[in-house]
């Protein structure tokens, strides 16, 4: 697949320079986003009907269940989205599109009440027609004291869900949230029939369950009554559990499967040099970071934080850890594809002089200890050592402490002042910022407590005026880049690979891997 190689080689340096040039940025990104997936030809081609699509995916477990409330990993997301639909979906541009809903709007000016109008004539796999009560039942599945759903957190602000008409659902929130509809794209929010058992896998999805062996494979066949006529091209889908990276690659290369996920960056060149293989990228879906606790010395000094931000060589990290894939971070947790990304903030580059200047201004403190294990993010130990070397050139001594991977998230993260961490990029700016930077957020890994910040964040949440909202998010990003404790050197692409026969892949920013885990209904098999 020559297109991948040439594009990434040309694109990476260009793009980095462009990051400093606000005007051209969006053009570069949209071009990159469209072209990166690999064979541009396959994207443009018309869908082919029929065939048996085989996926070889990581992260399956024998303890998996079909009930969406219990999904935790990519394998079940991908199987789940074959069977179930959500009310809304994320589109390829990172914006919401209707799935089971044809329209949705805030019913009150403070965005605390939302009305969703469902499409008519949609059928479940058992023949029952979809009505509002099914949605009410399915969303309530994640609510209440007894629910142990992974989607519970998304619906905590919901006080009431009502079927206000046969095809209309009204959701009431305890406080306004302009981004609330985005909660309904979550993998856990699959819709099943009222009163039904989700473990039977009966949904409205593009495929009907034939066989499910947890941790082994799932077999589905096309739903002839599927509501989205432009999707679901293949006759049947087999999703095979393959937890070993080499086994997945071997299966793809030997033609046993059509698509694999979780390709390691260092295997990229090997794979893309093979004939008949295309690389499927989901851009900037994970953030690698070194959070500093701003309530602990010496990181409570903003100059020291700046010194460290200048002392890390982001380009070098990208080259060695990601083999040139992904993107350089700017200590801004909002990914560049997000509509609210502040394009005008200049990209911070490695600058030993500036690092030394701020370090002196902070009083040249000692005792900077970075605690890492490869659980923080893959390659974080190497990254810490590179960081140590580049900081040493600026006269800053970083002591790299290697800690055990076991228990890293319990014992080290949120406890030690300077560690490695990673986050899946959330689809909305609000989700990302309130997840890590709200004063009371349980995962506030930089101990960022700023009343003004919290107020602005809350204001943006209920602000329905786009221009005002954009301005607030812009200011919050500037604040984090200049003063925040989060050092974000890299954004990582999710890499998957497919046989060149596979067409129809579209990246879904913020929706995760493999076309937002909807690859089964997006893909087709060229003869």
């Amino acid at each position: 697949m020559p297109s991948h190689k040439t594009i990434s080689n040309i694109l990476q340096p260009t793009r980095r320079q462009l990051l400093q040039n606000a005007g051209l940025l969006s053009a570069a990104l949209s071009a990159g986003g469209l072209m990166l997936p690999g064979s541009a030809g396959a994207q443009a081609a018309t869908p082919v009907k029929g065939g048996h699509l085989i996926l070889g995916l990581d992260t399956a477990s024998s303890s998996d269940r079909l009930d969406p409330a219990f999904y935790t990993e990519a394998y079940m997301y991908t199987v789940g989205f074959q069977l179930f639909n959500t009310v809304l979906e994320l589109g390829p541009d990172g914006k919401l599109i209707g799935a089971l809903a044809e329209s949705w709007e805030a019913a009150t000016p403070d965005a605390s009440k939302w009305v969703f109008k469902l499409k008519k004539g949609i059928q479940f796999h058992n023949g029952k027609e979809l009505v509002a009560q099914d949605v009410v039942y399915s969303l309530n599945h994640h609510r209440g004291e007894k629910s142990s759903s992974g989607g519970k957190g998304q619906l905590l602000a919901v006080t009431d869900i009502q079927a206000t008409d046969t095809h209309e659902v009204t959701v009431t929130l305890s406080a306004g949230n302009a981004d609330f509809p985005a909660a309904l794209v979550d993998y856990h929010m699959g819709i099943g029939p009222d009163g039904g058992d989700f473990d039977k896998g009966i949904g409205t999805g593009a495929f009907i369950l034939e066989d499910f062996q947890p941790g082994v494979r799932a077999l589905t066949k096309r739903n002839p009554n599927y509501w989205a006529s432009d999707r679901a091209h293949v006759d049947s889908v087999e999703t095979i559990a393959m937890s070993d990276a080499t086994a997945r690659m071997a299966a793809l290369l030997s033609g046993q499967v059509h698509i694999i996920n979780r390709v390691e960056p260092r295997a990229l060149n090997l794979l893309s040099s093979r004939p008949g293989v295309q690389i499927l990228r989901s851009q900037e879906n994970t953030m690698f970071c070194f959070p500093m606790r701003v309530d602990a010395a010496p990181y409570d000094n903003v100059d020291l934080r700046l010194a460290l931000k200048y002392a890390i060589d982001r380009e070098e990290l990208q080259k060695s850890l990601l083999v040139g894939t992904g993107a350089i971070g700017n200590d801004n947790p909002i990914a560049s594809w997000n509509p609210y990304f502040a394009k005008d903030i200049p990209q911070r580059a490695y600058d030993a002089d500036k690092a030394a200047f701020h370090f002196k201004k902070a009083g040249s403190p000692g005792g900077i200890q970075l605690s890492v294990s490869d659980n923080g993010f893959p390659g974080s130990v190497d990254a810490a050592q590179l960081f140590q070397a580049s900081a040493a050139k600026a006269g800053i001594t970083i002591d790299v402490e290697r800690v055990p991977s076991d228990g890293y998230w319990d014992e080290v993260w949120l406890k030690k002042p300077f560690v490695a961490s990673n986050w899946s990029v959330r689809p909305t700016a609000d989700a990302m910022l309130s997840l890590i930077f709200q004063s009371e957020a349980p995962w506030n890994e930089t101990a960022w407590r700023d009343e003004a910040f919290d107020k602005l964040l809350a204001a943006a949440r209920v602000e329905l005026d786009e221009t005002k909202r954009k301005q607030i998010y812009h200011d919050l990003q500037v604040k984090l880049v200049d003063e925040g404790g989060e050092l974000i050197p890299l954004f990582v692409d999710n890499l998957a690979a497919a046989s060149e026969k596979v067409g129809g892949y579209v990246p879904v920013p913020g929706g995760g891997d493999l076309s937002g885990y909807r690859i089964a209904e997006r893909a087709w098999l060229n003869a």
């Binding site: 269940r65 142990s148 957190g153 941790g215 937890s243």
Partner: protein
């Protein structure tokens, strides 16, 4: 190889000299030995069940908290603990669990609420099938190679066999597996690299799909058994009665097959049993590489989720397999060597 008729007469004579069964064997003592062994095995299994239960209680992390993860509130944890009956004291839970397990009821999995006995059955079948396939190839092959290397002791045949089997044993299984995949699947498309078998698969296709993992396992166990065969045989071959047989002009193959091998059988059978047990309980890595739906992967998945009933059930099954195979090995040794029936 037709020897002179005389040779057979000598043969019988020697048989009487060799310690092989000439005396009247007491069938009763053999049966009582078997019963004794089985009872001992049951006792051992019971002890193992105690250890397994205690071990799973000591495991850090509670199933309720690990099921809920970040959403764990005290109320939710309490409700799950109640639902799973975790609030009862451990001894009562042990008695209940053992009582049910004896009747073949291992309860339901905590994490996906499925009947464990039903989920384990196909996995165990797959594991046993793969182990059996590997054993059918590896056991005769290793014994044959062992005999060959004794027959040609010290020659290039012996050295080649030794070198090849030793290299095979030294390769870590995952590496041997990858090598086989690289050659047979990626480079030549001869055999499939993954072995996701299902019951719907016709048996022929199933065997083909299982060939690569089976070969990997054969490579892993071949060396051990072959070397034990060789060592045990060489040991016996040094005994005076073999020399006598030799001096009487018996052909080599006959000495090895009829006189040396039965006396060397006991250590060989023990090693074979150990390797068979290994083929059943120790093949997680091979299962992962070849995507084979066996017991190992099943156990590992559930340990990660703190799914205690599954871990306990799998532990019991593995222990039972181990104990049973060892009893069989003991009985075979005793049959082959009557001296063992009268321990001093």
């Amino acid at each position: 190889m037709g020897g002179p008729p005389l040779a057979d007469g000598i043969d019988t004579e020697i048989q009487a000299m060799s310690p092989l069964p000439a005396q009247k064997t007491s069938g009763n003592s053999l049966w009582s030995l078997l019963v004794k062994r089985l009872l001992l095995g049951l006792l051992l299994l019971w002890a193992v069940s105690l250890v397994i239960f205690a071990g799973t209680q000591i495991l850090p992390g509670d199933v309720a908290t690990s099921m809920l993860g970040q959403q764990a509130t005290p109320e939710a944890v309490a409700s799950i603990r109640k639902e799973l009956g975790l609030e009862q004291p451990a001894p009562i839970r042990y008695v209940k669990w053992l009582g049910a397990a004896v009747t073949g009821d291992f309860g339901r999995s905590y994490s996906n609420r499925q009947d464990i006995a039903k989920s384990i059955a196909p996995r165990l079948k797959n594991t046993l099938l793969l182990a059996a396939m590997a054993a059918v190839i590896a056991v005769p092959l290793s014994i044959l190679l062992g005999i060959l290397s004794v027959l040609y002791n010290g020659t290039w045949v012996d050295r080649t066999i030794g070198l090849v089997t030793l290299s095979a044993i030294s390769l870590p299984e995952f590496f041997a597996g990858y090598l086989l995949i690289a050659y047979f699947s990626v480079a030549h498309f001869w055999l499939p690299s993954s072995a996701t078998v299902s019951d719907a698969m016709p048996i022929g296709q199933r065997l083909v799909v299982m060939l690569l993992p089976c070969l990997t396992l054969v490579l892993a166990v071949l060396g051990h058994m072959m070397r034990m065969t060789r060592a045990a045989l060489l040991n016996v071959m040094a005994s005076p009665y073999i020399e006598t047989a030799l001096l009487k002009g018996l052909p080599w193959w006959r000495i090895v097959w009829k006189h040396a091998l039965p006396n060397a059988l006991s250590p060989i059978v023990n090693v074979v049993a150990l390797n068979l047990a290994y083929l059943i309980v120790g093949v997680v890595v091979v299962e992962v590489i070849f995507v084979y739906p066996g017991m190992g992967q099943y156990l590992v998945d559930h340990v990660a989720k703190r799914d205690v009933p599954v871990v306990q059930a799998a532990g019991l099954v593995f222990a039972a397999v181990y104990i049973l195979l060892n009893i069989v090995a003991d009985m075979v040794s005793v049959l082959a060597n009557p001296r063992l029936r009268h321990p001093r």
